[in-house]
Symmetry: C3
Subunit: 291 residues, 3 copies
């Protein structure tokens, strides 16, 4: 179900998908896990993946694993044609990559984590299903990537909610495929400026820059997401899927071609003492802020 360039990935059993890591979740129509609630409405063919990993839906290795497995299940389920992504946690869509996975761990762990980040993006950006982000809270860094990788982005119009690839603010660099995804959405100039500044844009500005497609009041979000989904599902699947693949293939292929190199880069960068130090400082800051 991924575009051609991503296919080799699917033929190998994913190393990260061991059942042991998945704790059992509550029963649900389609299936469910501990961090993501998945509901499939078989009459419309639309699933909802609701992030519920407190406190801030950070993209931990476990979260990413569940995300990819859930998405793969839906992709292989012929009753499912589209997925809406949203958050069950107030004020936050997703806080992005879980920094604890990048701090004080082994290089093997860094490799496993980064492969899971790549896998999430390859499956989402290359999904054959219609994907709609219903962004009901702030969405920095990796959270923004999830939204950027969908076919359509609707955001709650609250200016307190911000979105953006703010990696530069933390002293780190968004990988090339984050950048490619961003450029495909907002164009080269906006991407260059926002990435260098690590901009977190309030919803209205994000809309003006094209980072999100539409703003709605919070109470209208799910209704609007369903309406947009219905509009996209009115098209014949096959033609829409081939068209989507044609638009995204070059960028997907680029990561597939450089995947191991990208992992090694991540390990090399993350293992630097200077980076470790700044990540630890950042985590301390977050902890103090919380308490």
């Amino acid at each position: 179900s991924l575009p051609p360039g991503a296919l080799p990935l699917c033929l190998r059993p994913p190393a990260w998908g061991s059942a042991a890591r998945r704790p059992p979740g509550p029963p649900c129509r389609a299936f469910s896990n501990s961090r993501i609630l998945v509901e499939l409405d078989e009459s419309s063919g639309v699933a909802t993946m609701k992030f519920k990993s407190p406190p801030v839906n950070s993209l931990s290795l476990d979260f990413l694993t569940e995300f990819s497995i859930s998405l793969e299940k839906l992709e292989n389920n012929r009753a499912c044609r589209g997925v809406i992504f949203t958050s069950a946690i107030p004020k936050i869509f997703s806080s992005g990559l879980d920094i604890t996975e990048m701090c004080g761990k082994s290089t093997e762990h860094y490799a496993e984590f980064w492969r899971a980040v790549q896998e999430m993006w390859l499956r989402l950006y290359g999904s054959n299903m219609v994907t709609v982000a219903a962004v009901n809270g702030s969405s920095p860094a990796g959270g923004c990537l999830v939204a950027l990788s969908c076919d359509y982005r609707i955001m709650v119009e609250n200016p307190k909610f911000t979105i953006g690839l703010n990696e530069a603010q933390l002293g780190i660099v968004a990988p090339f495929w984050f950048k490619d995804t961003f450029v495909n959405v907002v164009g080269h100039r906006v991407a260059e400026r926002c990435l260098q500044l690590g901009s977190l844009l309030p919803a209205p500005e994000a809309h003006r820059f094209g980072l999100v497609d539409e703003l709605v009041p919070e109470e209208k979000l799910q209704e609007k997401a369903a309406a947009v989904m219905a509009q996209w599902l009115a098209l014949p699947d096959h033609a829409r899927q081939l068209t989507k693949s044609m638009m995204r293939k070059a960028v997907l292929d680029r990561l597939v071609a450089h995947r191991e190199e990208d992992i090694q880069n991540f390990i090399r960068f993350t293992s630097k003492e200077s980076i470790q130090k700044s990540l630890r400082t950042y985590m301390e800051m977050l902890k103090k802020k919380k308490s």
Copy 2:
């Protein structure tokens, strides 16, 4: 007169250009055919190619052949520096590719037809002349491609007139060079969204998305087209032509490099029973609508 990448095409005598297929037309200043009226004003150096192939200026093999021959004649006429494209038929600019050419025919016919579509685009997108689309009616699919391939697009501001690459609505996929041409005009994001949805945009929305450059009242269209043409012709030809080629060469070269492959793709796709069936259904629908 095509950019470097397209030159090899010109060196071979075009297989589609047999005189036998062209019926004699009424006399006219420059020359004329049965489906396109060509007028050249030698004082200004501006030609007008007026589509008059009832009922809806569909791009049949004959139409495309006339189009390419007419354009080639103008290209080789040193008295001609610019061409305005418009329709002689009310409410429709061009309905796009003629579906009867894609239905129940031999693979040889499909190949000849597709080669003619490619040839039209290579000549138009790569033209050394200034090309202005005066869009005085709806312009779906291939009709939109004609407009997109010009240097400038002026459309009548009537919201009943729509324009767009709506192939996905018919269950078919716009080829990569339609997509490349579209991306060069509206950018990646708008192209991705509109191609997947097969959007036909009313004139005002088409203008807002950058698909057309300017809207005018119907009675001002030809005057405006002449004024825009004069502005572009104020530039020295040679520098303008090299600049145009620099902007478009990569996309033209891409089709030239994959031309046969693209024809085989078209044949393979069109020959599928599922596609034939959906095209037949679509034609039945059009017939019923007409009667």
Copy 3:
């Protein structure tokens, strides 16, 4: 300090940097030359390069040489993190390439001149420092390139000041790397249209097309430039520099890979009698206009 692709250039001592060509300038905090005043505020880490080469800051071989040497010195000065470019001459930022360098000279001179133009761009577009253009006057052709190569462009809101790559108006063609830089700022469509028309846009239109990021009243320009610079310098240098390089590397690499070819193209084009004639005519026109 240039991105990887540009590095080979730095390893060779620049042929154009002979001290003999640089006349001694007045004393100044950092250093200074005859055509560009360079001031470095060590407390903020911000330098200002003020063009003061009457009558119109044209990019002569001497100017370009001073520009590149000044920029290299700042790049190697750890106390300097950002540069603001502005003009000391009323109403003009820079008039672009000095046409006298392209007229009636030897091919060796054309080669030396063009290499200096390339070097200026490679150093500026690839600079690790934050670069802000404070455009306080008109900025055609090469002057526009200087502004386009910065990280941010602020222009005085006076509609009498124009900016654009207007080469086509003079019968010449902007080289591919001018074009690439332009496309990265305004996108393919605006670039295609403006390059073919050789458009010089009044400041408000330049802002609307994205050619400049912001307009301010003349008296607020330096204050605004300082504020923007402070915003960009709030980011950690290393992450910002890697991000900038990621965005610009492909375009920088392209010139580096084709540098000699580009010089030969320039010589071949400039040496044509037709081009020489039109440049002489243009210079005559400028002289008459002046007197």
